[in-house]
């Protein structure tokens, strides 16, 4: 290898590295996620010191700490992480699908359907397993309803989908109000907490976590197509994107993610709208970066918010949706105010 070849070789190697450099923020966000999870597990009614924490992780430590970490706090922290990630990814996908930066996972009425399902189960006095199933069924019902109605007899446009979703969502809203009005007083707090989003009902984090991981793997190769789609369906088609199948894929994926998130923790507001926006303001608008970043940042945000919700007025707990909104609103406004 002569000198010129060596230089060219090195240039190629550094090119390969610099091509991956934009993805460096994912490493930081992953660290943030791990930190948030560790905090969530360590803090609470009984605070676990770092030394004791490591002892438990290494398989030692007291019985009380082991139960606290592995059976109570870790499942809830992981469920919170998964829910936050699902909501943020679903929000980012909806914003691309509707080409509307104001879209969030609930804009098409998925959470309304889920809420009606969940509240009905609560009114009937069923257990949490039936409640989850009922919420998931409500979410899917709403998804198909909106999709079928928006399809109608004419063409299928984002504007029409959005309008159908908003109208269906307000229909669900009316049913929810009706249920709250006629519901027995002793069940009202539980119902209201569920509507605000509450991780107390989270049973197992695994379905949500596994789905989140699978969906991230699925959408990363779609990322560049989504970048092109963000510039309008005609431009996307002109650059070789099969627009209609891609839009259907996004719609089904985003609805499924939202349904799963709502089933896990009720309708937690704001994560799905704000996390994708914050990341776009900071990281730009490459979906290959934004979608996995949403999964990590949304997860970290909700995990931290839930930790706060558990300790702010301990021993009572706040619904986590209150915290996400209280944290999210000012952060978002500051970022927006500072952006060009």
């Amino acid at each position: 290898m002569n000198a010129a070849e060596a230089i060219a070789h090195r240039a190629n190697a550094s090119m390969a590295i610099s091509a991956w450099r934009p993805f460096l923020p994912l490493v930081w966000l992953a660290l943030l996620g791990v930190l948030a999870l560790m905090l969530a597990v360590a803090i609470g009614s009984v605070t676990i010191a770092p030394g004791e924490f490591w002892a438990v992780i290494l398989g030692e430590g007291s019985e009380l700490h082991r139960t606290l970490i592995f059976e109570l706090r870790a499942p809830r922290a992981l469920a919170g992480f998964a829910t936050g990630g699902l909501l943020a990814v679903a929000g980012a996908l909806m914003q691309i699908l509707l080409r509307n930066p104001l879209a969030d996972p609930y804009v098409l009425g998925v959470s309304g359907g889920a809420s009606v399902g969940a509240l009905a189960a609560m009114l009937a006095g069923t257990g949490t397993a039936v409640l989850s199933g009922s919420a998931f069924a409500g979410a899917l019902l709403s998804t198909f309803l909106v999709f079928g109605l928006a399809h109608g007899t004419g063409s299928w446009t984002p504007a029409r989908l959005l309008l159908t979703g908003i109208v269906v969502a307000s229909g669900w809203g009316a049913v929810i109000t009706l249920m709250l009005a006629i519901g027995p007083t002793d069940k009202l707090p539980g119902m209201l907490y569920w509507l605000m989003g509450d991780l107390t009902y989270a049973q197992t984090p695994w379905p949500a976590l596994i789905t989140l991981a699978l969906v991230c793997l699925l959408v990363i190769p779609l990322g560049r197509s989504l970048n092109v789609l963000a510039r309008g369906p005609l431009q996307a088609a002109a650059l070789g994107v099969a627009v209609r199948p891609l839009e259907w894929t996004i719609y089904v994926l985003a609805s499924l993610l939202t349904a799963l998130a709502v089933t896990t923790a009720g309708s937690i507001g704001f994560v799905g709208l704000v996390v994708p926006h914050m990341l776009r303001l900071v990281l730009g608008n490459d979906q290959r970066l934004i979608l996995p970043a949403c999964a990590l940042a949304g997860g970290a945000l909700l995990t931290l918010a839930d930790t706060l919700a558990r300790i702010v007025i301990a021993p009572e707990q706040l619904p986590v949706g209150v915290i996400t909104a209280l944290l999210g609103v000012p952060t978002f406004l500051v970022l927006l105010y500072r952006s060009r």
Binding site: N12, M15, A19, W20, R99, N100, P101, I220, P221, L222, R224, S225, N227, V228, A230, R231, G232, L234, Q235, A237, A238, L239, G240, V241, A242, R280, G284, N285, D286, R340
Partner: protein, 254 residues
């Protein structure tokens, strides 16, 4: 290099009679101009030629293969289109916007490499946009955005160029630069098809013309045979005065 052909093509404009079916053969090295008044169907024809809008009847072929039988991705590797209207819903820089022209050539897991970046930067340079590379497209003027759109298609580097009023919003100097760039593409063996409003740009840079009338009638042929004042006056419903400047006819409304 690619031949774009139509067979008995009737574009689909609602509530308009079929008119004359188009049998065009647009060959590498040719620059076609599509002329016609507002609403004659110039943009619809261009979208139909790109396979983005189904025709009412007839067929469009790229090198003898029907467009409808080709995958969208395959079409996009050969045919590029510059739209008249654009949608910038989400923020993106000028360089990022040009780079999406490489989309048809990359596999889903592939990142844009040094070669793609080089093509995009080269395209920006040709359209005098290098200094704006890191600017957000939403902060640009209409003429600058028009050049960004052209740069995106130049990065795509298709063998068939379709452009809908490529000189829209451009000042005089950039109009000339863009027309030179497009006819340069034709000289390099590509097929170039332009919708134009300016007769004089068409007269100076196009070697073939297609006149589209609002009732669906059409005629086409070599530019010399089409640039007849009577035909053009009838096309636009506007009396014209014309003169010869530097060997090319110049038309002005009388």
């Amino acid at each position: 290099m690619t031949v774009l052909e139509t067979q008995d093509l009737v574009i689909d404009i609602p509530e308009r009679p079929d008119g004359r079916a188009l049998n065009l053969r647009m060959e590498p090295g040719q620059t076609w101009g599509i002329l016609g008044p507002n609403g004659a169907g110039k943009s619809t024809l261009l979208h139909t030629l790109a396979g983005l809008k189904p025709p009412r009847s007839g067929d469009i072929q790229l090198d003898g293969t029907s467009l409808s039988r080709l995958r969208r991705g395959t079409v996009a590797q050969q045919l590029g289109i510059v739209f008249q209207e654009r949608q910038d819903g989400f923020p993106a820089t000028v360089l990022e916007t040009a780079l999406i022209g490489r989309h048809p050539f990359l596999s889903p897991w592939q990142l844009e490499g040094g070669n793609d970046l080089e093509m995009a930067e080269n395209a920006l340079e040709q359209l005098e946009l290098s200094d704006l590379a890191e600017r957000s497209v939403s902060t640009l003027s209409g003429g600058e955005r028009q050049r960004v759109a052209l740069a995106t298609t130049l990065t795509q580097s298709p063998s068939v160029w379709l452009a809908d009023e490529p000189t829209n919003h451009l000042d005089l100097r950039h109009q000339v630069a863009v027309m030179n760039l497009l006819s340069g593409q034709a000289r390099a063996g590509r097929t170039v098809v332009l919708c134009l409003h300016d007769l004089n740009l068409a007269a100076r840079w196009c070697d073939h013309l297609l006149l589209l009338y609002p009732d669906g009638e059409a005629c086409w042929g070599e530019a010399d045979s089409m640039l007849k004042p009577q035909a053009l006056e009838q096309l636009y419903g506007q009396p014209l005065t014309w003169a010869e400047v530097d060997g090319a006819p110049v038309f002005v409304p009388s």
